[in-house]
Symmetry: none
Subunit: 204 residues, 2 copies
DNA sequence: CTATTTCATGTCCAACAGTACAATATTTAT
DNA sequence: ATAAATATTGTACTGTTGGACATGAAATAG
């Protein structure tokens, strides 16, 4: 089982070699005939080139993973729909690539956690034949927040401390706390970590 | 990390032991309190019992896989929607079970190929109009963490307090802090919020 | 014009988080 | 066998967080 990285110029990044010692880079043209059964093909080409490349690779029994700079759910779903078995960020660390390889090589599918929730939630409802529009109770609860609270919530969800938020917004730390208390009460979470989780399930 | 097979009578099939030497069978009642973080729970109960059992297992940080005789797509989606990470046939061979375990333990989701097509097809349409954004930047490695540290890191990334993690793992709060200090140092983050952010990108 | 909402700030305090010093037992590697 | 890594727990200390009391100004809705 070999790993092939398909890049426009056939270049091979060091971190890929670090992840998989027995690997090689290829240009899109030289893909056909090279790959074998259960090889893993990592595609770094443009969106336009996927379709045919995924097809070529899978026809030869290879497993395809699309790499992209844009962590775009729709793009990911398109790739998976076309036959790719994974969708991962281009700059993923060697350790992540290893995990992805492990999963896809074992018949699994690699998608982000956030995307997964959407996929399962969405499709489940789709199969249930429900005509209701996707009313995420989150957007409602988010609308409870005032403009200022929203800004604070976002900053905190990005990992900022109260002090940092205060500096960013040029207000005192006390005021940040006041906003946070209101946010916690409105969104029914106990602390900034739970807030982070709540926000991430919806804004990502 | 242990494997638990939940059956009505608490019986344990030979092929499960063959797949995972380090395993045990449980009845639905005895599930609570037994399983730990990152354990894998295989559910062989009736459909009616899933909901609560998946909930109990995941609340304790375990990964749930539903086993069923009926290869029913809708049943599978329901299981996954409830929080299960895999859906596999009850009579699956040991080799298959090992693969499933490998995939779900690495953040993957196990579903059949046929179901996958449906899921993606359905959700792709369902998700046509949603915007996305993302940020990815990391270099440090998850493999720097020991097994124990990994368990703590995941628990914290799910929003647990030190006290809660201590209770879950049946260790003192002080030990949790020790692990966390090691985690922070290794992953070069300053606190649990930054850890959360880092893990969410690493395991995306 | 008043009532309400939003935004800002203050002090006090208890709980939580994280580090700096440890120490000890077990397992793993050389 | 010895060294290194891992897992566990302890005390003491500092900084952060969030709630419980507040107050006051500006904007907005009725």
């Amino acid at each position: 089982m070999r790993h092939w990285f398909i890049t426009a110029d056939g270049s091979l990044k060091a971190r890929w070699k670090k992840a998989f010692p027995n690997t090689a880079a290829l240009t899109p043209d030289s893909l056909r005939g090279q790959v074998q059964l259960n090889d893993i093909v990592w595609l770094l080409t443009t969106v336009e080139e996927w379709s045919s490349l995924i097809d070529v690779a899978t026809k030869q029994g290879a497993i395809t993973v699309v790499m992209s700079y844009a962590a775009d759910d729709r793009e990911a779903l398109k790739a998976l729909d076309l036959g790719a078995r994974g969708y991962v960020h281009t700059l993923a660390a060697p350790e992540v690539l290893k995990q992805v390889a492990l999963v896809v090589a074992n018949q699994g599918v690699w998608v982000g956690q956030a995307l997964l929730a959407k996929v399962l939630g969405g499709s489940f409802k789709a199969l249930q034949q429900r005509g209701e529009r996707s009313t995420n109770h989150y957007s409602e609860s988010l609308e409870l927040l005032t403009e200022r609270e929203m800004v604070v919530a976002r900053a905190v969800a990005q990992g900022a401390t109260n002090k940092e938020v205060a500096r960013q917004l040029d207000i005192t730390e006390r005021t940040v706390k006041a906003h946070l208390s209101a946010i916690f009460r409105k969104l029914v979470v106990r602390d900034r970590l739970q807030l982070m989780l709540k926000l991430s399930t919806l804004t990502q």
